[in-house]
Symmetry: C2
Subunit: 298 residues, 2 copies
């Protein structure tokens, strides 16, 4: 297991962590100021300043992208909606490629309409079939582009509205069904990074009694991203009350040890949705805390 | 699958659904007024009016108890705390027996201190070991008393503070480990009701991609209770914003069909924690709605 105590070279900042800090250019400059080597930006933040400007800033500051957030949201009430989702995912693959991201993270979607507050169906199995088909179609395009797709299993409390892939086991079953040969993203067998893998976010999976076994099953080639934050024992909001590493109950070093034992050598990406706390604080305070906690409790 | 549309003979009311309606005697009288045949009371509600008075009211109104809520909460920071939990579980078994409940429901507990807002440890695996040991110790006593224990897997969002058994598969693994012969609660092999089984609450398990398979695995003897309510697409509180059946996204009839295909023939017990809505309404309105929804969407 890598020693993180001496520096923060393996820290990546998911830019959603700094949603309170302004536009993406401001966020990138703050990251650079703190010696951050990698980020994972969100598409809406990129769109707000432009893809080319984002790419230029990333180059200027020598940043790596531990991932790009996000593709997915495949289920839709009709064929036109499903096609629109596929088209949008192709654009996401292209953007991820332009930014040289390590992977495109997929938040796969769930019951159509639920995210807007009114589910149009309760057919969870149907949504899961649409996710299967949507990833299959996107995977062909992503392989040609050489961009690995990382399915992010989301906590079961998001099964209705955000993602109906809710355990690592379920995500890996999808990987094995759609990418049985673990074909490399460049179209050739590649034991280092499969074309289709997973993003393991401790917030979503920490509770899972099968977590260690499924991380081992995933192995180096399927483990495309590792996200950290913390689960607050008193969580006040289902979406925007994630904790800073060390402030909650997740045994982050234990999970990182499992991930690294399976061969993962990438960044620990901090992703904290926190309208109730961290989004209210100055970017410099958030980043200094991320760095300190990365060295001490990740 | 049983037809519920003509009457509500298989409806049970978990008395937590009427927490806004006053004391347990008031709640029981309201249930009797609506022709409810079964309830599942909580220990604090029983304690407030007395066990003997509760037993007398249950007899007077000819009520069955689909379950008794609840035992569990096994993990503790020290041996004295664990012993206190075992002692309390024995008292819960005794009370359930006095009330002739179908089972004692176990909410097994999680990280010591977390429920009070400050977890004393992050050792989730350790908490799970304590749960294993606590159930093992309680099971011996419960078998002698002839009271089946029903492990209730709780939604993963309660893994820190309420229950570290979070999937039906995990609960059934515990059952198989501790009660491999599915010994009847009366100490003899009993294919009808195992001494140790599960309470399946759709709120906690609806998202699980392995749900159908695990319900089938449980079978008639392990399926000791079936709880219904609904998952609201916009859930505002992690604990007290459960929906009335039909107001959310859970395919309740599909899950009931699976449970009944596995051999379950008991009550559909309505358990709605809803400080944000249903606890504010009059008991008669809540019960009339439960009955109507039981006939139409359960």
């Amino acid at each position: 297991m890598r020693d993180f105590s001496a520096d923060h070279r393996w820290l990546s900042i998911n830019t959603a962590t700094l949603r309170g800090a302004g536009r993406l250019d401001t966020i990138i400059e703050a990251c650079a100021r703190h010696g951050i080597r990698a980020i994972s930006p969100w598409r809406d933040q990129v769109a707000a300043i432009g893809l080319e400007r984002t790419a230029a800033l990333v180059r200027t500051h020598g940043l790596a992208l531990s991932g790009y957030c996000r593709g997915g949201m495949f289920p839709a009430p009709d064929a036109a909606g499903r096609q629109a989702a596929l088209d949008d995912n192709r654009r996401a693959v292209d953007e991820a490629k332009t930014l040289d991201a390590a992977c495109l993270v997929l938040v796969v979607g769930a019951l159509p309409g639920a995210l807007a507050g009114a589910a149009l169906t309760k057919d969870l199995a149907g949504a899961r079939r649409q996710v299967h088909d949507g990833i299959a179609a996107t995977l062909e395009y992503a392989k040609e582009a050489g961009m690995p797709l990382a399915i992010e299993p989301l906590h079961p409390m998001y099964a209705a509205d955000r993602a109906c892939v809710n355990t690592l086991e379920q995500a890996l079953d999808l990987c094995d069904a759609l990418d049985p040969a673990q074909g490399g993203a460049l179209g050739v067998a590649n034991v280092d990074r499969a074309a289709l893998g997973v993003a393991v976010d401790v917030y979503h999976v920490w509770w899972d009694p099968k977590l260690e076994a499924q991380i081992s099953r995933a192995g180096k080639s399927r483990l495309l991203a590792f996200h950290v934050c913390d689960w607050l024992a008193k969580t006040r909001d289902l979406l925007e009350d994630r904790g800073m590493m060390g402030d909650g109950v997740i045994e982050i070093p234990k999970i990182r040890a499992w991930v690294e034992a399976a061969g993962f050598t990438g960044y620990s990406e901090v992703e904290i949705f926190s309208s109730l706390d961290w989004w209210k604080r100055p970017a410099d305070e958030v980043l200094a805390t991320c760095i300190s906690r990365h060295r001490s409790v990740v």
